[in-house]
Amino acid sequence: MQFIALCKSRFLAGRFIKTLMVMKITVFLVLVASMNVSAKVYSQKLTLTEKNAPLDKLFTEIKKQTGYTFVYTESILKKARTVSLQVVDVSLEKVLQICFQNQPFTYEIVEKTIVIKPIADAEVLIPVATTDITGIVTDPDGKPISGVSVEVKGIKQGTETDVNGIFKLKGVSASAVLVFSSVGYEKQEIVASNNPVINVSLKLNSSTLGDIVVIGYGSTKRANITSAISSISEKDIKNLPVAGADQMIQGKIPGVTVTTNSGQPGGGVSILVRGITTVNNNQPLYVIDGVPIIASTSSGGMDYLGGVAGQTVQSPLATLNPNDIASIDVLKDASAQAIYGAAGGNGVVLITTKKGKPGEGKLEYDLYYGQQQLQKKLPIMNLRQYAQYYNSVLAEGTTTGVTDTIGEFLNPSVLGSGTDWQDAVFQTGNIQNHQLSFSGGQGKTNYYFSGNYFGQDGILINTGFQRYSLRMSVDQQVKNWLKAGVSGNLSRSDQKLAVTDGQQSVIAAMLYNSPATPVKAFDGSYVNTTPIAGVPFGNAQNPVALAALRNVHSIQSKAYGNLYAEIQFTKDISFRNQLNYDFQLNDNTAFQPNIVNPDGTVILSPSKLRVDKSDSYYYGLQTYLTYNHIFGKHALNFLLGHEASYNHYDDANVSVTGLTLNIQSLSAGTPDPAAPAGGSTYDGASESYFARLLYTYDNRYSVTLSGRRDGSSNFGPDKRIGYFPAVSAGWTISNEKFAQDWKTLSFLKLRLGYGSVGVSSVPANTYTTNIRLASNAVGLFGQSGVPGIPANVGNPSLSWESVVTYNAGLEAGFLNGRIELTIDLYKKITTQMLLATTLPSFAGLDPNPPNNNYDEIEPPYTNAGQMTNTGVDLGITSHNIKTRDFGWNTIIVFSQYKNILDKLNAPGAVLFGKSQAFAPVTLTESLAGQPVGSFYGFVTNGLYRTMTDLTSGPTPMLPVGVQGTWLGDIRYKDLNGDKAITSADQTFIGNPNPKFTYGFTNSFSYKGLDLSIFLTGVYGDQIYNYSRMETESLFNVYENQLSTVLNRYSAANPNGSLPRYNQYNENNLKISDRFIENGSYMRIQNISLGYNLPGKVIGRAKISSFRIYVAGQNLHTFTKYSGYDPELGAFNNNVLTQNIDYGHYPNPRSLTVGANIVF
């Protein structure tokens, strides 16, 4: 290799050998490489006359006249030809050109030293006869293309086209081959043939093989990739009316399952990269321009204002402006992830933001505006139906126990429809987005600036999301060997929330609130309950008042970005230093006014304000060296680096109550004794070394080796270091000789990969036993100090969770890339999971770790258990029709995985998923041999419809009788065959994990028109419809129900499909398959129709491109699911509580109109 050869030179030996000996290999490489820095500052003029002179003689003469010295090995000059020349006042450059013409070696100039070195195999001699060439490069429509790379094949000569598509090349030989290439176009080669003008029209490229893929600490061409990486670009995700980039990639990337956890604007999003990796946090690592985003975003718990907390985890990407994204690359298998080592176990999402490109400045304005609304309403009874229902329950008084006759209901037909609580709680919300950006590049500076505003009203009253963001990025070629840049992203997002998910969710309360109660009284005040015939109707908490009067915000202010300097020592070797930073302020407030009606009815009370502020900062220093070299058929890319990072989190919260005049200010109230001021501080650090080698032979065989050594403060002193190696190989079969004649199959590549990555996500300091300081308990027994009790059981031997992936991939291209297919099969095995030991409750430690409950001693975390995911990712891109005027492309994305929890920390260990209620009940059980988060309960077998049913079968759970098990009650199956229905007859009744998910995009273009239809879907998952346990509970006659309850079993309706009205016991409301529903759906996720205004129309206004469009998002969902929305996600991203519909905030349907204008 080149640098080895140089090592032997006298120059090095004499001057640097001592230094080298004490240096690490990294530094060695750097130094050696730096020898080659070239400087073109040789303006001295020479006068020489020689005939057949040996070269060293000429060197002496040149040194005399210019002061430049020569460095070479004796052996190299042995092959030198003699030189004849006669020059007068000629530049050194010209003289050297003559001297080295047709010599078997070449030279480079370092400062005032001329280094002589052998010619690399790939390089050919510069021919003598040359022509200056110019030309214009255009697209198929004849429009000039800027930034096209124009290179002379085989030598280091090249340029780019300017904004007008014009290029200029000097001194090109007649036999030279010019290579024109640009992303998105097919590469074209033209022989120069002494033509002074060469105009080229490039064809659009349908193949993605030439695309650049970001692979972590670098990028490479897709053709060189040997691991499973999927990418999408800006154009795939633009103009989607959602808050975050995570939602935008839903259904677009094979192997990546994206589910919104809530329709709450800015709400949480579950992203699973190839199934469920762990029972812990499954969130992938997001890396934006090299900056890992580690700050989590969550709102304050609503429980402070009373009730259950509801969903609090928000999307970490909602604070980031997706309009600045240029591309997203997802590292899916361990051989790709290993370069991120311990952070990569859940997959890595690499986001690259837009940068300025060389050329004339560009001003771009994007905007859209739209409206959002509820996709469907549930068939809840109106007042007439409700009265009819009430009367029917009353009519069966002997078995229902309902005896209060309500005169007002006796003739339902005279009643109105009553309050439609759905209309009262849901609204039509506006959504808008404005993005203004400036970008460009002049000479050595490229820049990009943007400002963005995104605003969205929720479809639930008093919810919404707003974000303001600014981005700036500057890249400067400081020296020809030094590039430096800085990027900064500032954003402020403000989320306005309501309680969602759980017993006290606004939607849950709304669903069963009585249609007999008004939202407000005539005087405009809210109403809780209304007495009708002495019976109170309504809800102690008016759901509209709850949503409208409370003011709960989660505000994030964030700054992140990087500062880098990259030294290009040679064409091959570069060295990059990058400082990453991420700084975030969270400001969560929850406010409730004191609202008491004149008649004394309390609507909300007492007044409360909680303010919870936290700040977190992160900084990391990355240094890495990249070596790229092509010699002959060998292509090599080597990376070696070091990274250290530190993060710090600080939080303080304070609560006040008794706010004067309901002023939302800490100064208006007094400290709330129920919630003393609190706070906490955490920090963490990591240090890593990493290396990667990409080697390709003859574009046929490729191998990638990578590894990372990670150190993390999450583990005890003896267990801090983890090693994560990976290897993958690729064989491009279509580049083999025997494949040259393949006609249809234009590209075929096989990939195999194996790798090991880790997960270190475990609460800080769990390796040691911490003392919980019970600050709330100060004053017990008159003691003044804060009492302390062990908070957990430490485990000093706790170490890394391991994720091993085997991957086999096949990439095929047909008809010159008209159809491209990528298929990956994988097996992912997670072992040594960081499991909070799950003990039965009787052990006396926290039975539901890692929920850090207030009064429980946490069991030790251990490395235990195993989980396997096997799956297939499939992506097909087809350019069905491609003519000058009409285009039709189809993209199919298919993701399938099967998750099995092989074992936990003990044979009987179970992880429970519970309902969000005051007395939580178990909904899911995760234990060995089952998919994670499986629903667990009873199996139903119709109803008891006859006395024989009741008496002949297995003994019912409750004694036979009206107050026990009776006609019309649900008949559960006796699964264990003990002739009695008991809790032992529960089993796994559903799987929330889909069998597969898919996305299907068709885009059409005709002249200036474009149309895109995007369908996405999920197949084979099950949903636990907890809401229906309330809306078909048939338990409390004062609560509203779905209209389906009109067809319940009763003596008068013995064939009714629903069980009887039963207020005596909860026998019919067991967790059972009664509430399990098919969660499959296919959704028209997006249809957009756009039109590019013709150039002659907009040209006069100095506009270079103007596209207007209309788009519909979430237009229709084909599903059998009876609830609002089958897309449920996981409560607070917890895989143990997936697909549970309990007062869930449905995803809205939106219609938007927008425009992209480029000046």
């Binding site: 730096s34 009373g306 009370s605 040691t768 300081l773 009492p787 908070a791 235990a864 016991n1065 067991k1070």
Partner: protein, 524 residues
Amino acid sequence: MKNSLLYILLVSVTLISCSKDFLNRPSLNNPTLSDYYTNAAQVEGATGLLYNQVWYNWLDKAYHCIGEVYGGNMLTSAGDPNYGNNTYVYFTVQSTDGQDLLAWQAFYQVAGNATVLINTFQQIRNSSNASFIDPGIAEARFIRGVAYFFIARTFGDAPIVTDPVALAGSGDYNLPRYLQSDVLKFALNDMAAAEAGLSATPYQGGRVTKYSAAGMAAKIYLYEGNYDSAMIKANEVISSNQYSLYPSYVDMFTTAKANNNPESLFALQWIAGGYSYANDIQAYAGPAPLMKPDFNTGYSSVIPTLDLLNAYDTGDLRKGWSIMQQGYSNSNWKNSLFPSGFSYDTTVGGGADDAYHITNGTRSNSLKYINGPANNGNPSDPTSAFGDGLCLYVLRYADVLLIYAEAVLGTNASTSDPSALSAFNLVHARAGLTPVTSLTKQQILHERRVEFAFEGDYWYDIQRQGFTMASQIINAQERGTLNGDGTINHVGATFTTPSQLYLPIPSDEVVADPKLAMPAVPYY
């Protein structure tokens, strides 16, 4: 020279290797075990927590469900899902019930916290010879004994764990159930150790003493039917002359000023205001109008049964001290609705609850552990939506006196033993009733019911009578409510099998440990 500077820069940057301490990030929030429990105050702080929050999941709702609703003293409001959807009223509680699980978890959590402290203290004691640890060990053993007593009474046969940390490390959690008698014996052993290690007088007001342990042992012995031992242990407490009946029965349950009075042998300690640190009973048992302006409190979720209302003898002052009914008033309880004091008003002609009137199913609310509205004008007796600071009695002197009387009676049909009569009549007479001259089991049980109503104990009194008698008592109770016209909508429990004597082992636990479904084995 440019390159030299460059080299220096490169070397310095590339050779960066963080120091070893870079990855060492001990908690910034709290001490760790290795540098804690180094003085008596820290030990006392830890044992103090065993009187408080660890009991919360029981106190919150299971306390009423089991002790009172099961026992027939209270009703849950129509099908409240938070209280087992009426199943405690009908005696149909199932193993999937939320409160069943919470009670199980709470008792074992108390035992687990106490056990971790016992073992931690013991290790420190073994290595440091620090004698200030010893009272802490005895105090924690007292708490653990009480927890296991509750476990044995509530669930019957049950597992026993003496080293949760070792169990966590073992990977095998399939413990059997141990015979109830052995669980009780385990509790008694803890009481014996506690009695031996605790001082005669509390080192802080409200701390347990050796007599607390003796009294609790008497209660366990009585539960077992070991009358001789119960009598001996109860007599130890009585003859210490350290405890006495508190003159104001009503104050004991309505104001924190009476906390840790001379009648209290063991009471849970609560801190007003803090969720899970405070006594939140009034939030659930209290009527909404009283609790104004607090919104999330005063649910009347559990209310006295008609059966209990009728159980009081004429002239028994405890009825008025324990229950709010039409005509009850308290001039100290002022809020925005009742600026001159609260009055309990059920007189609304067939109407519903409104801001001022209370029309729950029995037109009554319990008064015990009701501290009044948040702004009750008494800063020394604060309360909030999350609760107040009223201590919750687990063992009071009146109980010891009645245990003594019952132990003396033993298996006899009746007794006129003067010491038994004297003990009984102390309690009886405080209620304004005429002293009795002879005692039967029925009399004592009745006395216990009205004396300890709403204190979470009555179900256990019924249960220890055995299935036959317990089912007679339960099935005879009126568990119904009043209709709008004042007629009774009758509801009775269905108590038909001995298995209903104990709450079912929660099904989550049986899934995790199938051995719990198998017959119990001896522990000793």
